[in-house]
């Protein structure tokens, strides 16, 4: 017998078949893991580069979702500011009308007192509006710790601090309007002017023209603040829309990196099952008839 030939023994056959079966079963297990977890990326070593993209996508996604939360919160702030300022504007229009009525020379001092009474009511209503709270904080108070933005005398209690929301990486937007900037404070402020108007209606109608000018000045400030709030509101909404697109895009990218291509994996599973069955069939043939079966 020639030794140089590669001898095949029964043990070679069976060990080879065993190792092939193992390999085949291993592949089957890998595919089944992918199918059941829905992910091709189950551990970093499956693909280190995909794993790092996946991690980066995830942290970006969490960040973007946080920005979405920040924006929703900011939209809440600006929405309240917007509706409050709208009410302020309609009250102010009534005030202006009353002031114009007061300048009518035909009016008696009693009529003017009645007008002054209504102005006082409106002023009280405006102070309440200026003290509107949101999330337990005075809406127009900046970062103040005080419970209200204005005291009863119309003196500003807040500060000029901005309530800031981060809406994109490195982009921060103030979502508040400070009372000092809209209503002013003390005698020169809106509430001082209204007090003056009420006093003038009662005692000094000659000064009403001057009051009208001051009221118009305040009106302009308030309207421009309203415009500013509207602009910021729109900016937040635009940013929110683009963030939504961004989040969807990130989720898609994440899915592309991590998730299985189902039809492909199902095909692979089928193929692998067939391969495994074939290997099993081969195994049953390993117990080949040897010469033993033919000798008597």
């Amino acid at each position: 017998m020639a030794v140089s030939d590669f001898r095949i023994t029964q043990r070679t056959l069976s060990s080879e078949v065993m190792s092939n079966l193992q390999r085949s079963l291993g592949k089957l297990q890998q595919i089944q893991e992918q199918m059941s977890s829905g992910k091709v990326l189950n551990r970093p070593s499956d693909s280190p580069t995909a794993a790092v993209s996946s991690l980066a996508f995830r942290s970006q996604l969490t960040r973007s979702q946080q920005y979405q939360r920040n924006i929703s919160d900011g939209i809440g702030w600006l929405g309240i500011a917007d509706s409050t300022l709208q009410s302020v504007v309609s009250s102010m229009q009534r005030v202006r009308q009353l002031a114009v009525n007061g300048t009518d020379g035909a009016m008696s001092s009693q009529d003017r007192s009645a007008l002054a009474e209504e102005v006082d009511q409106l002023r009280a209503g405006l102070v309440t509006l200026a003290n509107t709270t949101y999330q337990n904080r005075p809406l127009f108070g900046g970062n103040t710790t005080s419970a209200t933005a204005y005291d009863a005398n119309g003196v500003y209690q807040g500060d000029a601090g901005g309530v800031t929301r981060t809406i994109a990486p490195g982009v921060q937007l103030d979502v508040n309007v400070t009372g000092g900037a809209v209503f002013g404070s003390g005698a020169s402020g809106l509430f001082g002017t209204l007090q003056q108007l009420s006093d003038d209606l009662r005692t000094n109608p000659a000064n009403l023209q001057g009051d009208l000018t001051a009221i118009d000045g305040h009106m302009t400030t308030i309207l421009s603040a309203l415009g500013d709030v509207g602009a910021r509101y729109r900016r937040l909404e635009t940013t929110k829309n683009s963030l939504d697109t961004n989040v969807t895009g990130l989720q898609q990218s994440l899915s592309e990196v991590e998730d299985v291509d189902l039809p492909q994996v199902i095909m692979q599973l089928q193929t692998q099952q067939v391969a495994y069955q074939a290997a099993l069939a081969a195994t049953s043939k390993v117990i080949q008839p040897s010469l033993v079966d033919f000798l008597k």
Binding site: S45, T62, Q66, E258, L291
Partner: protein
């Protein structure tokens, strides 16, 4: 040759055929025995005397057959190769297991790993920034911080546990090696005795070689033949078995680096192959390396957050540096929780050249007066002369904790240290994280006790400001922050594990190739044995037939002639 000589030839043929049948039967019996090498019978023809005596000659033919030897079919080169490949294979597999355990521990990428927890933690800061006055946002941030630190703690202890387990496993493996070495030496002795007595040693040799093969799985070995059929086994160049003498190994885990040493002289036996090699790589390289990475990550996160959270300082704008009319500027100072007298600086004009130095001197002397220990808290002032003055305070000894807060009714704090991040109580300079490594990282006890101490506000903006929390939340996007360090650590682990997986599958292939070569050389083939069986059976029948013929011949000669 005498007439009866023919009977002797027949007998020797019967013996030889019988031996052949025995050996074939032995082969068949051991068809599935591990480490068995198939045996073959070598026979030689009995010739006449090789050196005829003087004046005599040998006319007769051969004298039958003798069984010379029973041999193992074994290729020593394949054996040596097999020890080498098996050693490499089991070393790589051990390393692969270690890395795959680490991968399993980090469990990335997932929604529950450190990466996601980190991202949630940074988000928590933004929620606090959105509602600085809200206790629930602060409590939630503490919970998120706690979840993160718990992950660090448990991962650190898992790595430490894994290393301890590996050391224990190393001890068990070394014990196994010592036992096997003793057995090999014993078998060597038996083989020597048998060979000297001229007995068969093939099966003993098989047993010994099987042990050496198992030994090579545990620790890389080389085997060299010694006299009388004995084999010496070497580990890392030193003899583990020499003839009938075996040395023992021991695990030395006293130092930071675990080693395997010879018991007799304490000299290291650093095999890089076999399970021992793989375990040593895991214990001394992979696990400490990943433990250190995790520790570094923990301290990086701690410092990153604490540096922003606890920084004490301020900026005085260029047009605002003449404070001569401000009177005395004051702020409260405490070191390690002990409140000290308020620090007082007399307002002056620091706008000109040298203003920074003058403010620093004034501030330092005021600090020294307050602490009573000159230099314990160090003030640094830079800038000025047309650019903003930057003021900062820090403890000279990094383990000292300095906190500052405003003196009510005095604006000195916001003037000098307005950029300090403060909690709801207006105090700044406290750490958010405590701990020195991954296993001790925790949210600082002070913060847990009072969520209001989370410094979300910049002092000059008032306590309901969220700018401080925003700057900490913005660390999430930092390219040099904990997030990116963590990602590069995971990538490194992934690459290392992937390469280990590939190496193992290649080595598996090589090892099975060598094994099948060896099996091809030494294994029993049933067909072959059946043929041998037939051969020897026929030989036996023929010899028996020959004997009958000789018997009949003699019968004719003795009983039927000369009557």
């Amino acid at each position: 040759m005498s007439d009866f000589g023919a009977l002797r030839i027949a007998l020797s043929a019967l013996y030889a055929a019988q031996k052949g049948l025995d050996v074939t039967g032995h082969n068949l019996a051991n068809v599935n025995t591990d480490g068995y090498s198939r045996q073959t019978v070598t026979t030689v023809a009995n010739a006449g005397p090789l050196t005829p005596a003087l004046f005599s000659k040998w006319n007769d033919g051969g004298q039958g057959v003798t069984v010379e030897d029973v041999q193992r079919s074994r290729d020593v080169f394949l054996e040596a190769r097999s020890y080498l490949e098996h050693g490499a294979d089991s070393s790589l597999k051990t390393v692969q297991t270690t890395l795959s355990n680490l991968e399993q521990m980090y469990g990335e990428p997932s929604d529950t790993g450190i990466q996601q927890t980190l991202a949630d933690f940074w988000g928590g800061w933004q929620d606090v920034a959105n509602n600085p006055g809200d206790q629930s946002a602060r409590t939630q941030l503490i919970q998120l911080g706690g979840a993160l630190t718990t992950m660090f703690n448990s991962d650190a202890s898992t790595i430490a546990q894994q290393r301890n387990d590996a050391i224990e496993q190393l001890g068990t493996t070394v014990n196994e090696i010592n036992t096997m070495a003793a057995n090999i030496a014993q078998l060597n002795g038996a083989i020597q005795n048998a060979q000297v007595a001229g007995l068969q040693t093939t099966d003993l040799q098989d047993q010994r070689d099987l042990l050496i093969s198992k030994l090579s799985d545990d620790i890389g070995v080389t085997a060299r033949p010694n006299a009388n059929g004995m084999v010496d086994v070497y580990v890392d160049g030193g003899p583990l078995v020499r003839g009938t003498e075996a040395q023992t190994l021991a695990v030395d885990s006293s130092g930071p680096t675990v080693a395997v040493r010879w018991t007799k002289d304490n000299y290291p036996a650093n095999s890089s192959a076999g399970q021992v090699g793989g375990l040593l790589t895991s214990i001394n390289d992979i696990l400490p390396r990943y433990a250190t990475s995790l520790d570094n990550l923990a301290t990086q996160l701690r410092d990153q957050v604490n540096q922003v959270h606890g920084a004490i300082g301020g900026t005085i704008a260029a047009g605002n540096q003449d404070l001569s009319s401000a009177g005395t500027l004051q702020f409260n100072l405490s070191v390690n929780g002990t409140a000290l007298p308020a620090v007082s600086v007399t307002g002056a004009d620091w706008s000109g050249a040298g203003g920074a130095a003058a403010l620093q001197t004034a501030l330092q002397s005021a600090l020294d007066t307050a602490t009573g220990t000159p230099g314990q808290v160090v003030a640094t002032v830079t800038g000025g002369a047309g650019s903003p003055l930057k003021v900062s305070l820090a403890a000279a000894n990094p383990t000292d904790q300095v906190t500052v807060s405003a003196v009510s009714g005095n604006n000195g704090f916001t003037t000098l240290l307005g950029d300090t991040l403060v909690g709801l109580d207006g105090v700044g300079g406290r750490p958010f994280f405590s701990g020195t490594n991954a296993s001790t990282l925790a949210v600082a006890p002070g913060v847990i006790a009072d969520p209001g101490t989370i410094a979300a506000a910049v002092a000059s903006n008032g306590p309901l400001d969220g700018q401080g929390a925003l700057s900490i939340g913005a660390l999430s996007a930092s390219t040099t922050g904990a997030d990116s360090t963590y990602r590069s650590m995971i990538v490194q682990l992934g690459v290392e594990a992937q390469s280990a997986n590939r190496q193992v599958s290649i080595q598996d292939e090589v090892t099975s190739q060598v094994d099948s070569n060896r099996e091809s050389q030494a294994g029993v083939n049933l067909d072959e044995e059946m043929v041998s069986l037939l051969q020897y059976q026929h030989a036996y029948s023929a010899a028996a037939r020959y004997m009958t013929v000789v018997d009949q011949t003699l019968d004719t000669l003795i009983n039927h002639t000369g009557a």
